[in-house]
């Protein structure tokens, strides 16, 4: 359902990658690997529609995402290096902003409980640790019910229990016919099943 057509991107004078072609259907996952600086984040941002590629296009269900931006973004959840949380709002309020479609507070609180943040619901986000912020973002992913997850280093700043939780959530997402694109320096465990790999650089 998401496919690319000869993607190429440049940073300054340097060509980051060229001729990137792939197609992912429901329930499939892709892991993008490569050394630091090879353009993994740039590729993810292009796939999410935040950055324009220098060449080529990204297609969602056959349509260029530049044409069907709103439809695509409705189905997309993106998690980047920075968390996009507003420090002065509480964890719960931040979650509500991340998932504008869902209106049930109880459902959000339940999701927070699932990721282990039950004690932080009314804590202003600036008091959360890195690991807790990461879990909050994950809660947003789960609550948002997007079809396509694009995650940039989701395992960073997590302890072993956290890593296990992320992998379980991703596996559940794939079982529910979701699409997953992920970058990670660590190897993913087998809970996710078969994961395609794309190596940059």
């Amino acid at each position: 359902m998401i496919s690319t057509d000869n993607l190429a991107a440049r940073r300054g004078e340097r060509l980051l990658f060229n001729g990137v072609n792939f197609k992912l259907d429901q329930g499939q996952a892709l892991r993008i690997t490569g050394a630091n600086g090879t353009g993994k984040t740039t590729l993810l941002r292009i796939l999410a529609g935040l950055t324009e590629p220098d060449l080529g296009s990204v297609k969602w269900c056959g349509e260029d995402i530049r044409q069907c931006r709103e439809t695509f973004h409705q189905q997309l959840a993106y998690s980047g290096h920075q968390f996009g949380l507003r420090g002065e709002l509480t964890a719960l309020e931040n979650l509500r902003y991340l998932t504008p479609d869902s209106s049930e507070s109880s459902a959000l609180i339940e999701t927070m409980d699932r990721v282990g943040l039950a004690r932080c619901i009314n804590l202003p986000a600036r008091y959360l640790s890195q690991g807790q912020r990461r879990r909050l973002i994950l809660a947003g992913l789960v609550a948002g019910q997007a079809r396509c997850w694009i995650l940039d280093e989701p395992l960073a700043a997590l302890d072993n229990a956290g890593i296990e939780m992320v992998e379980t959530l991703c596996a559940d997402h794939l079982k529910n016919s979701g699409i997953l694109i992920i970058t990670s320096h660590q190897n993913l465990s087998s809970t996710l099943g078969r994961v395609a790999e794309l190596h940059l650089g």
Binding site: A48, G49, L50, T51, E52, E70, T71, H73, Q74, L76, Y78, G80, H81, Q82, F83, G84, L85, R86, G87, E88, L89, Y97, L98, P100
Partner: protein, 209 residues
């Protein structure tokens, strides 16, 4: 839908700035009541302009730094609507309080009470324009380093608002009708309202790229 974002503490800074700058004029210029009454409207307008600029400073900077801007651009709703809502919220927490304390400033200049309605009307029309234009500037200069200098580039755009705004008050001061000035201000407000949110949205997309 995205509602007004509460920023306790930060919100009042521009309003206090407005008051302080406004109050500084009478203090610095002596107590000749005629002089004060003459420069009053202009001085209040300058204070308002500076306060609005201050409130916009780094409007989107922290959003960019903490990744919130990314998420904003990913919301499946036309960006200009979100920006419009955000700027409206911004005006409500900055412009509106400024309007509320304006009578205090008018008093400190010893302005005639008859001038107050026109002053408030002009500010009510003009502060949104300043806000919207300033937001465009902030969005365009988000990722460049010459922040303060680039702000100077936009300054000429503020001039019409300043001229019509204070002109309206002076018109009443001299016994003429402020209708002309006010309708020009209203036209400015309408035009900026229509195109500024879209311009800010486009500038943000470009800055993020």
């Amino acid at each position: 839908m995205l509602g007004a974002v509460r920023q306790p503490g930060d919100a009042l800074a521009p309003v206090v700035f407005y008051l302080i700058v406004g109050m500084l004029f009478p203090l610095a210029l002596g107590s000749d009541p005629r002089l004060l009454a003459q420069i009053g409207p202009g001085a209040i307008w300058i204070a308002a302009l500076l306060a609005v600029l201050l409130s916009l400073h780094k409007l989107f900077r922290s959003d960019l730094d903490n990744g919130y801007l990314d998420q904003l651009l990913l919301i499946p709703c036309p960006l200009f609507l979100l920006i419009g809502a955000r700027l409206l919220a911004h005006w409500l927490q900055t412009g509106l309080p400024m309007l509320l304390v304006t009578p205090l400033l008018a008093e400190s200049f010893g302005l005639d009470y008859a001038l107050l309605p026109v002053l408030l009307a002009a500010l009510a029309l003009g502060t949104p324009v300043l806000l919207l234009l300033g937001a465009i500037n902030e969005a365009l200069t988000l990722t460049s380093r010459g922040g303060a200098l680039l702000a100077l580039l936009v300054l000429p755009l503020y001039v019409p608002t300043l001229v019509f705004g204070s002109g309206a008050v002076y018109a009443v001061h001299f016994g003429e009708s402020p209708a002309g000035h006010l309708s020009l201000l209203a036209a400015l407000a309408l035009v900026t309202l229509l195109f500024a949110p879209w311009a800010v949205a486009t500038a943000l997309r470009i800055s993020i790229d």
